[in-house]
Amino acid sequence: MSLALSLFTIVCVSLGAVFFLAGTLGLLRFPDTLTRLHALTKADNLGLGLVVLGLLPQVDWPLGALKLIAVWLLALLAGATVGQVLGSAVRPPPVSGAGESTP
């Protein structure tokens, strides 16, 4: 049983590391800011999510596990917000009401 859980951890954490690697490659190689942001947030969402999923069997239940999940959710919130803020800084959203002033 513990062997199966260890294998589960190794597989999940390794997959998470692959996503981090891919996200870093995307950050370095993609052509513009928006696609780079896309690569970066994928690393946060899936990479960190898989690492947390893999570590869940290794920590105390329920407090340790809840802390890990909270870390992942906070990283998701921060990543999504930073993505939106940086994205709108690069490409500002169309000003509402602009159509009225210029018919």
Partner: protein, 342 residues
């Protein structure tokens, strides 16, 4: 055993190389913003080093204050500096020379520190055993908090006072007409919907984490400075998102919050002359509750001081609501002149 040790050595070496590389990049990079971003990442990596050295208290402080708070202050300073293109060529040459001088001085300091560390006797002199031996008399479980609030309480008291002095220094940068008004550095013209959502979702969690850091500091890594820094960060997010305005700096209640921590610390320290025959001494049975009261008040004052340091000096405000311009300017000028008459 040796396998895990060598793995740790590989990880530490990689971390050290990463930090050195990032440090060189931060100094060499041209853009001021890029340098600040490099500095923030550098601080987070240094926090990882402190974790590797089992100094989690220092790691928390480095991440919260050294990297996060300093990073925000430096970003604001960078926003006030002229863009690189606006600096004349002669100025650029001077800046390169300045960077070289700073780099050489820092490298020299690092070399001296490295030489000192390498010449330490084996085992290195340490007060750790003595500190751990007396720790039970304070009722604390975290030796770092014991050092900060009991053994070296005078240092911590002065640190708390220095924060208030720093804030007075910052406020003295305000224009005469703006004195007494609201700090304006964290105002955003149009915070996006995502930022507003973050400012609504994160503070409940962050306030809980800040209070937890203060409370757990008695027995585990944490304490007033780390908890206060997290609380200040939550306040800063709310200010940036425009969900609340910074308080007027001439408010009586705000100033009370700012000084309650250092003042209570000082008062309990003075009372120690009668209770425990020493300034900043605690009576044996009351050490733990007194320390917790001091830490709670310090957390509040530190959070307020750090938040106000981030919020900058009082600035002329455009006036609440959609009315911006001459009328708003006039109203706060009248306000400030009545303040001067008081």
């Amino acid at each position: 055993m040796s396998m895990s040790m060598s793995l740790g050595l590989v990880a530490d070496s990689f971390l050290a190389l990463l930090i050195l590389g990032l440090a060189v990049w931060t100094i060499a990079v041209r853009g001021t913003y890029a340098a600040v971003v490099g500095f923030v990442a550098y601080g987070l990596l240094v926090a990882l080093v402190w974790v590797r050295l089992a100094a989690v208290d220092v790691a928390l402080t480095e991440a919260a204050l050294g990297s996060g708070l300093m990073g925000l202050l430096l970003l604001r300073a960078a926003a006030c500096l002229p863009r690189d293109a606006a600096v004349p060529a002669s100025g650029r040459v001077g800046r390169v020379a300045l960077r070289v001088v700073v780099g050489v001085l820092c490298a020299g300091l690092t070399a001296v520190l490295a030489a000192v560390v390498l010449q330490l006797p084996e085992p290195a002199p340490s007060l750790a055993a003595a500190a751990a031996q007396v720790l039970p008399t304070t009722g604390l479980g975290n030796p770092v908090t014991g050092v900060l609030i009991a053994y070296r309480a005078i240092d911590t008291l002065l640190e708390a006072v220095v924060l208030v002095l720093a804030l007075i220094g910052l406020w003295s940068l305000a224009a005469d007409g703006a004195w007494g008004g609201r700090p304006g550095a964290l105002r955003t013209r149009e915070p996006g919907a995502a930022l507003v959502l973050l400012a609504q979702l994160l503070p409940p969690v962050g306030i809980l984490v800040g209070i937890h850091l203060f409370w757990t500091g008695a027995n585990h890594p944490g304490g007033a400075f780390q908890g206060g820094a997290v609380l200040a960060a939550m306040w800063a997010i709310v200010l940036v998102a425009g969900l609340a305005a910074a308080p007027r700096v001439d408010g009586r209640r705000l100033r009370l919050v700012l000084v309650v921590g250092p003042a209570l610390f000082f008062a309990i320290g003075l009372a120690g002359i009668w209770w425990a025959d020493a300034f900043l001494g605690y009576p044996a049975d009351w050490a733990k509750p007194l320390i917790l009261v001091i830490e709670a008040a310090l957390t509040l004052s530190i959070a307020a001081a750090l938040g106000l340091l981030l919020a900058g000096p009082p600035a002329a405000e455009p006036g609440p609501g959609p009315v911006v311009g001459a009328a708003g300017q006039l109203s706060w000028k009248e306000q400030s002149s009545t303040d001067e008459h008081r």
